[in-house]
Amino acid sequence: MADPMKMRATLKGDTAEVRVLMNHPMETGQRKGPDGKVVPMHFIQNVEVKLNGKTVIEGQTSQAVSRNPVFSFRLKGAKAGDKLEISWLDNKGDKNQTETALA
């Protein structure tokens, strides 16, 4: 099963409140696993938000972001039907994305 990712966008007037949930371990590289070995660093480094294909937010993140990251953003001048895409890329090159239409 693909790792789930979920976006929820609510439109209030011309402002869209966007919340995105990502499934990711966000390993700090300092935690020991059950085998006693250090779990290697594994974390999301880039988060990008696109509105109708145009990049509106570019985030860079560290291993200090909590496991299963949740971000909220706000977009202005948005309207129903606008296409919203969010993607992430981690330090191992894994990536994931999700999209929704504003309603």
């Binding site: 919340r19 499934n23 496991r67 949740v70």
Partner: protein
């Protein structure tokens, strides 16, 4: 608003406005913010997939599982558990009933289906995902566990006794920690769970994403882990003891609209 700056009058006003269920707490803001930005929905999503996935010797999904409101009816079903099930002549909570459905609908053995009931952050369990999904479909429904059948009443009575019985290596009962108002373990406030005002907000938000485990935890896990802390042997999953405690807590919380799955420390 700074907690320390709140006047007691404002405190009282807030408590009244929010009803007795909303006890004031120094962690109120933390808990509110954590709940608002919780990844818990991810678990509901995976749970839905697993609920609909054909599995077991019978290659069947759980979609026809009867959680007490009829085969396949999920809306509000969790809020009405635990309850008596005539087909097994037993009181069951959500997890106990789902295990029953895995065995009957999917033809899985108890051994196989209970092999890994409690997962971890790296690999949550099937039961955890499923609990998240099914509980989520009771949001907005008032907790109304079964109380009409004599077996349901007996379950409540057993749970009530169990809550206070001191046992295990360290002589604890549930009430050892959850027995007196205003007490803490470390910095965690201890709800007095035999009182409705404390049981209501708690039972309305379990099962839950637990921040300290970074994963989703079920009610059976919650009780199992309390017994671990009490230094008893391990309660059997789905046993009468666990169902009775769950029944006691849910009846104590009855009437509260379910708003989980929640997010906890």
């Amino acid at each position: 608003m700074r907690i320390a700056e709140r006047s007691s009058a404002l405190f009282a006003a807030l408590a009244l406005a929010a009803g007795p269920a909303a006890a004031q707490s120094q962690f109120e803001k933390y808990q509110k913010m954590v709940a608002e930005s919780s990844p818990v929905e991810l678990f509901e999503l995976v749970g839905e997939d697993l609920w609909k996935k054909k599995q077991g010797p019978k290659s069947a999904s759980l979609e026809q599982c009867d959680l007490g409101m009829g085969s396949g009816v999920l809306a509000g079903a969790y809020a009405r558990l635990p309850r008596y099930f005539e087909d097994v002549d037993q009181v069951m909570d959500l997890e106990t009933r789902m295990l029953h459905c895995m065995m009957t609908l999917q033809g899985r053995s108890r051994e196989e289906a209970t092999k890994r009931l409690f997962g971890n952050a790296d690999k949550p369990s099937e039961m955890e995902y499923l609990s998240a999904y099914v509980a989520g479909l009771s949001r907005g429904h008032e907790l109304a566990p079964g109380q009409s059948h004599p077996r349901e009443q007996a379950s409540y009575e057993l749970g009530k006794k169990l809550y206070f019985v001191r046992t295990g290596l360290w002589d604890f009962s549930c009430a050892s920690c959850h027995g007196e108002e205003g007490k803490r373990i470390r910095m965690s406030e201890l709800p007095v769970l035999y009182k409705p005002e404390a049981a209501r907000p708690l039972m309305a938000t379990w099962p839950a994403y637990r921040v300290s485990n970074s994963t989703f935890k079920t009610m059976q896990w919650r009780l199992n882990n309390c017994f671990a802390q009490m230094r008893t042997p391990e309660p059997v999953f789905g046993s009468e003891v666990v169902n009775a405690l769950n029944m006691f807590l849910t009846v104590t919380a009855k009437g509260e609209p379910y708003r989980g799955p929640g997010t906890k420390r």
